[in-house]
Symmetry: C2
Subunit: 664 residues, 2 copies
């Protein structure tokens, strides 16, 4: 690919079939081929360049994003890309834009909440982008508590219309992406009021802007919420603020699949199960987990390659210094993140299956697996996004000082990723939801109701409460059954302890409030167990390619054992392992790191990321870091002139002791 390859020596040490691993990572040969082709298409198109994002002003950045989205849509049509390919194209363009919400939230919510007629009317418009939509739920005063939204939609039977209104400042819609400057329409969530009665929050399709000249329609105040964290990053998105002043829409723009308002203003509920909403949440959250594996793997790819390029200390007599990737402190921080990237990839694959399974059951009116699937997806969204956000920043630190430069790509990767910890459910709120489900499961254990799905291990609670870990040697920690049982026992014991402590409170709600920090920890233990168990299950499948399975086994062990070490307090406090067994974990980890070391570069090559997608001088495929860092520096606007703007007004008067008279 490139002329020099400073990492060729590293690549020559690889002990497995990288091409085969690429397919494992992508999910299938088909998925690999699409992502490979589309990512190269994006990388080779100059319109999609992104190396200048950090120095663009907000307006320049935003206009350039509009250009990219238009060009992307043009290419999608010219090349007659399939829906899957179009999705990949937008993904590899790697720039948050209003189209994310149009395709990812606006259209899906119409599909999910609209009647047949509504689908007939709106989908053709949206699918051809003759209208552009966003998803206006969150308000200035309410995020997590959706039931507390204040925007009202009051039915006026005289005109057969709803009147949308923002009664307070805090009822302003706030945050919706694509709202601020672009969307012509929105699915707006508002309290439905008929005849003075509040029926709670419902969705409405509302036109926001004129299709002729893009000006906001009468009664609508709309703008951008302002700069967000980071250079470039999410500032390419027009997260918006919106206020309604008695805006009227026809009655048939209420999304009426689940509940209806008749011409007479009567409120009705259809027999469509409300649980459908949870099905959508499972879909969105499994996609977030999938994205977590991408974001983390990008950061890990950058940090791993640079750690092999960077040398520091350890030279004998002025000879060549040690690659920093050879330091155990570096391995100890980096390799668990590499393992996590793979772990999250596989658990997201499983969640995709889970979503399909739940959907098929819902269509057959089987709701039995939904609560567990919903709770588990919520927990995994929380676990993986928190670990990914922290992991990206850790990768930045692993790159030393140079990781602080925008040209390393890591600052932007962090800034653009962290909203995932908050949107679609605040991570702590989600863990508490999962904890409620865990407590309910524990409380029903005596009733003979068998726990199903990812929590079925609770069925063996009696065994798990008293089992003893049989590890006696370093090698014992490589046995999947032993590792799995330790994680199961820890999760079960933490849940049971919480349930026991809860029962000491006079009210369950008071107990829940008081013990919430413990409940969060129990939920995390449950989630980590799921990720470990799905990684282990993946390895029970047939995986072709020389050495591929062996590498994945090493990574699976690193993932599990590094968690075991990090959370050894849980395992020890619940008596799941002994201090001696805990110290054997450490010894085994060191040995595993040595096994990964020669394959580290190949394991990140297997992600198959183009240099365009990585967007990092430190993470370049060819390892040609220093000359490129140097080259990048001179592109900064401050280097346009040798003597900086401001020298004559501010620096010279200081040096010449002429400040007293200066006008500043």
């Amino acid at each position: 690919m490139e002329e020099v390859d400073h990492l060729a020596h590293e690549r020559s040490k690889t002990q497995f079939d990288v091409a085969a691993m690429k397919i494992v990572w992508a999910g299938s040969k088909h998925e690999f081929e699409i992502s490979d082709r589309v990512s190269r298409l994006v990388a080779s198109d100059p319109v999609f360049r992104k190396d200048n994002r950090a120095v663009l002003s907000r307006k320049e950045l935003f206009k350039n994003t509009l250009r990219k989205t238009a060009h992307a849509w043009k290419r999608i049509n010219e090349l007659r890309l399939t829906e899957e390919e179009a999705w990949e194209l937008r993904f590899y363009i790697d720039e948050p834009a209003f189209t994310d919400l149009h395709w990812g939230m606006f259209i899906p919510s119409i599909k999910g909440l609209g009647t047949e007629e509504q689908l007939q009317k709106w989908l053709p418009l949206a699918n051809t982008m003759r209208i552009i939509g966003c998803y206006a739920q969150t308000e200035l005063g309410h995020g997590s508590n959706v039931q507390g939204l204040e925007t009202t939609a009051t039915f006026d039977p005289k005109t057969d219309e709803f009147i949308l209104h923002s009664p307070t400042l805090t009822s302003s819609k706030w945050w919706p992406g694509g709202l601020g400057k672009v969307s012509t329409h929105a699915v707006v969530y508002a309290r439905l009021i008929t005849d003075g009665q509040d029926h709670g929050v419902n969705g409405f399709i509302v036109q926001l802007r004129s299709l002729d000249d893009h000006s906001p329609l009468p009664g609508i105040t709309i703008g951008d919420v302002g700069m967000k964290f980071g250079n470039g990053a999410y500032n390419s998105m027009d997260n918006g603020v919106l206020q309604f002043d008695h805006v009227r829409i026809p009655r048939d723009q209420m999304l009426m699949r689940v509940s209806q308002v008749t011409r007479e203003g009567k409120y009705l509920r259809s027999d469509v199960p409300r649980q459908l909403v949870y099905g959508t949440m499972v879909f969105v959250r499994q996609y977030i987990v999938f994205n977590a594996s991408y974001a983390l793997s990008r950061a890990v790819c950058i940090a791993t390659r640079y750690s092999a390029v960077r040398r520091q200390f350890g030279s004998q007599d002025g000879g060549i210094e040690t690659q920093v990737i050879d330091y155990k402190t570096q391995q100890n921080r980096l390799f668990p993140l590499l393992a996590s990237a793979y772990a999250f990839r596989f658990v997201s694959e499983w969640l995709k299956w889970l979503y399909t399974d739940v959907t098929q059951r819902l269509q057959a009116n089987d709701f039995s697996t939904l609560p567990e699937a919903h709770a588990c997806t919520a927990g995994l969204k929380s676990l993986t996004t928190t670990a990914t956000a922290d992991g990206i920043e850790e990768c930045r630190k692993l790159c030393g000082g140079h990781g602080y430069l925008c040209s390393s790509g890591l600052p932007e990767l962090f800034a653009v990723y962290i909203p995932a910890c908050t949107y679609e459910g605040d991570n702590i709120v989600l863990l508490l939801q999962l904890a409620r489900f865990l407590m309910k499961t524990v409380s029903q254990l005596g009733s003979g109701k068998k726990p199903i799905g990812a929590i079925s291990y609770m069925g063996q609670v009696e065994h798990l409460m008293q089992c003893r870990c049989s590890v006696q040697s370093v090698e014992d920690w490589l046995k999947p059954s032993i590792v799995l049982e330790a994680f199961q026992a820890r999760a079960a014991r933490m849940s049971v302890t919480c349930a026991e402590n809860l029962s000491k409170f006079s009210s369950i709600e008071e107990g829940f409030m008081e013990l919430s920090a413990d409940l969060v920890e129990a939920a995390i233990a449950h989630c980590q167990l799921i990720v470990v168990s799905k990684f282990i299950e993946k390895l029970q499948q047939d995986i072709p390619g020389k050495g591929v399975k062996e590498q994945l086994e090493v990574l699976c062990n690193i993932y599990a054992l590094s968690l075991l070490h990090k959370h050894q307090g849980d395992f020890l406090a619940t008596g799941c392992i002994t201090p001696e067994q805990a110290s054997l974990v450490n010894a085994q980890l060191r040995s595993l790191y040595s096994q990964v070391r020669p394959n580290a570069i190949a394991l990140v090559d297997a992600f198959n990321y183009t240099d365009h997608f990585l967007g990092s001088v430190l993470g370049r495929y060819d390892g040609n870091v220093y000359p490129k860092l140097y080259e990048e520096a001179w592109k900064d606007p401050l280097n346009d002139s040798v003597v900086p703007d401001g020298y004559h007004e501010y620096i010279r008067p200081i040096l010449k002791q002429q400040l007293r008279m200066a006008r500043l």
Copy 2:
């Protein structure tokens, strides 16, 4: 101060004398009065406004920083500020600038490394800013490993000059603040070469730019390294790149206090102890710890006030919702950070004393305490900066979605702070240095050499290896002696275990490499013990003011017990506490959180930060968050026009299906 005070109700609940606490926080009445006066002076001066930093382009931002520094210097002279007041003024302007390096590194290194004559010559110029200097040590290829620097300074006896040269790309100076665009001079670190012999790294005063027109002198290539993490943040600093092409300087610009080169080119070492260098490091690092307490307390102040303003969930029948600060999950994350801010303040106070003590001893040729002071300061720099960086990001998350807006102040606070984890010693490298000292101390225990200073607890190693924690009830965890012993036992046992494991390796260096992750953990345990013990010592002093000491006791307990919980794996694995005792920690923590809760706002008010310094809409003193957030949004450049720039070129053609013909 303000007309509305949405937090008045919170303030009315305070159980202690806030004015007295302000003095405790500031260190003394004198220090409080200066910081109070100077911070108000800065806040009231429109030149120092900083609320627009996030939207300024790099060039605008930089020019504005030049303006601020010139104005500050003008004010310092007009008002005849003392050195202490001038320092505070620059601190409260709160914008990284070349002056930080001029006053903080250039002048101190001349003072530390220059001869009497050199001081006579250079200090008057620098102190009046007739020259502006920076500190050019780090290179593109070498940061942590200072001995690996590649820049050369070769003595030419013919002309009595040194020739400074950058022999490779990686030898380019890279990162020095103030270098890129402003400094006229630098202290440059280069390998001293005389007569073909390399004498290692020495400092040289080098003029970089013409004092007439600011252009770089012949043979000097100089520029800015480019954009760094975040909006505003450190981009106001001209971190620079510098290359020398055989640049000649007079021999007397080598800093010659520690070693000299004679007219004949002979290399000599003076009898000035080289340990002086370590004294300087202790100074710089104790100042970093001091700054950590400031940065963390700012973030905590913002998150605490906003947590009292923000309400979510918990309303009964549409009534008022629960303040998020009342949720135990919020308290469990926020209050340990509040306690950490105070803990770091007090440990930095102690480090300041330690530095003074070490300096006095050095002057009396007593080097006995230096190694311990050096190791301990290195460790505390690492501990406090890592905790502060993580803590700022945690505070941002505690503010939910709105924390992601630049107007919350938290993104910039994070971006501007995180370099502290890397500069002046990478945090992991520093912990490994401390670990070496710990291992040395353990190895000498048998020799009868008594450990002194913060590590003197190791003198009781026999007791600490076998003592048992006597906690039997929740209240027992409030006893300082019990808490202290638990932390001492954990630290001692972790160090001793490391030392035992090290002894199993054939070479100590091999063992150090292999066990470095464990050594880092032992070093952290040692540092946490120091912070806990200095907090406890502080409380043994007389502290005036109603309820002040009681509040600090609660915070001290929260600091210690939240660490105990977070690291319970260490305490359990080393047998310092039992699982039952660990669970009592949790129960006590919940009770402590309830005691802090009514005082939380007052405890952050005690930092005495102006709204200007905080720079956060969420952290406003008056709690008037939502109207101000709304107001701020409209200031974004994207809101200059209702229809965004780019509509006609990119949005309209999509909507009108005219993309095929469009030129993008």
